[in-house]
Symmetry: C2
Subunit: 87 residues, 2 copies
């Protein structure tokens, strides 16, 4: 029960960040290193879940991977746009 609440909160917490970043297009305050490490870590968790046939681990990390990857892609896109603007 407590584990489910915990998992739901940490997984779904990335949804407001995705919406916030899409709305404001402001990624300056977001650390690229954080999201590279985080997405890689969640990918490892997902593989770990797949290998150990653990459905909650697969499901939770699958959703978190999609959401955190969107934030990472938006951060990378705005970095690329900045570079284009300078050239």
């Amino acid at each position: 029960m407590l584990g489910s609440v915990a998992a739901a909160c940490t997984t779904l917490s990335f949804l407001p960040q995705v919406l916030h970043t899409i709305k404001t297009k402001d990624t300056e305050g977001i650390s690229l290193t954080m999201y590279v490490l985080f997405v890689f870590g969640i990918l490892c968790w997902l593989i770990y879940g797949l290998l150990s046939h653990d459905l909650p681990l697969m499901l939770g990390n699958g959703i978190t991977l999609v959401l955190s990857s969107i934030v990472l892609l938006l951060k990378l896109k705005s970095k690329a746009d900045e570079r284009t603007a300078i050239l």
Copy 2:
């Protein structure tokens, strides 16, 4: 092994975010809702780890709780500063 790499990455990923936020003081792009949900979720994970006497769960979530709480506090501080500036 894979689980340890995954845990290390997701836990330590919040460190560059803390350093980034302290350095830039830019919290505009950070979602307050995300960090409120995330910190609450990690707190639940920590209690879950304590109740089930799971040391890796306690350790990982303890560190993540400290790091993500710093980001949340910096976000709340800049929100408060903004409000003071308006008044």
